[in-house]
C-alpha cells in the first residue's frame, strides 16, 4: 500500500486540449511531459476534447512547413510515457475510433475524468 502511495505521488498528469498546428499548446504540453519524464517523473497523458485530434493517423507538417507532432508522439515510449488516455466522448463527437489513432490508447469515459485528475499528484493543463 505504501508503495502504491509513493508511486502515485510521483505521477504527473498532462492534459492536452489542443490539436496540432492551430497553436503551440500541443507542442508545449508534450515538451512539459518530456521534461517531467526526463527528470524521472511518471507521466500520464490525457488527450481531452480537441486534443484527441493530436493522435489522428496520417498527419504531417503544416502548410507553412511547421514541424509535425507525430515524431514527438512516437518518441513518448522512449521516455517511458506509456499511459495515453483519450476522451472517448471527444472521439465519438468526431466520428473517430481508437483504431484511427497512431498510438495505442486507453479510452476514458466522462465518468472517469474526475477520478483521473484526483489520483495524480500534479495536473498540468495545456
Amino acid at each position: 500500500m505504501q508503495d502504491d502511495t509513493t508511486k502515485a505521488s510521483s505521477q504527473v498528469l498532462v492534459i492536452l486540449r489542443h490539436g496540432p498546428h492551430g497553436s503551440s499548446w500541443l507542442r508545449e504540453g508534450l515538451d512539459a511531459a518530456l521534461v517531467a519524464a526526463a527528470f524521472g517523473r511518471e507521466v500520464t497523458l490525457l488527450f481531452y476534447g480537441e486534443g484527441v485530434t493530436a493522435l489522428v493517423e496520417g498527419q504531417g507538417a503544416g502548410p507553412l512547413g511547421q514541424k509535425g507532432t507525430q515524431p514527438t508522439l512516437e518518441m513518448l515510449a522512449m521516455y517511458d510515457i506509456e499511459t495515453l488516455l483519450v476522451d472517448q466522448q471527444a472521439l465519438d463527437e468526431r466520428g473517430l475510433a481508437a483504431s484511427d489513432l497512431l498510438l495505442p490508447v486507453t479510452p476514458l469515459a466522462p465518468s472517469q475524468l474526475a477520478a483521473t485528475l484526483a489520483e495524480h499528484e500534479l495536473v498540468l493543463n495545456f
Binding site: 476534447g49 475524468l113 474526475a114
Partner: protein, 96 residues
C-alpha cells in the same frame, strides 16, 4: 479536493464545459479574469451542476464593474481567499 480555476467567460469559450466535466464531487471552481462573467445571474446557470462550490475573485469582479452584480449563489473571495482556497486544495488545475 481540487481547486479548478477558469479564466474564460461561458459565453466566449466552451472550456468551462471541460472544466465541469472534470470536476469531482468535492472540487471547487474559482472564476478569475474574464471567467468572472460567469458569476452574473444570467450566466450562472452554466455552473448549476456545481452550485455552492463556485467562487469568483473580487478583484476581477471589481475591475469589470461586476462586484455588485454577482449572483447570490456565487461565493466572492479576495486574493487572500484565493490563497486560502489554494491551501485547502490538494492541487490546482487551471482551465483557460
Amino acid at each position: 479536493m481540487i481547486l479548478h480555476t477558469l479564466n474564460r467567460s461561458p459565453t466566449e469559450s466552451r472550456v468551462y464545459r471541460q472544466a465541469l466535466a472534470a470536476m469531482g464531487p468535492d472540487d471547487r471552481l474559482l472564476l478569475i479574469e474574464d471567467g468572472v462573467q460567469g458569476a452574473l445571474p444570467s450566466l450562472v446557470r452554466h455552473f448549476g451542476d456545481v452550485s455552492g462550490r463556485v467562487f469568483a475573485l473580487r478583484e476581477d469582479l471589481e475591475a469589470r464593474g461586476l462586484a455588485g452584480r454577482c449572483d447570490a449563489t456565487v461565493l466572492v473571495v479576495d486574493a487572500d481567499g484565493f490563497v486560502t482556497l489554494t491551501e485547502e486544495a490538494d492541487k490546482t488545475v487551471s482551465w483557460f
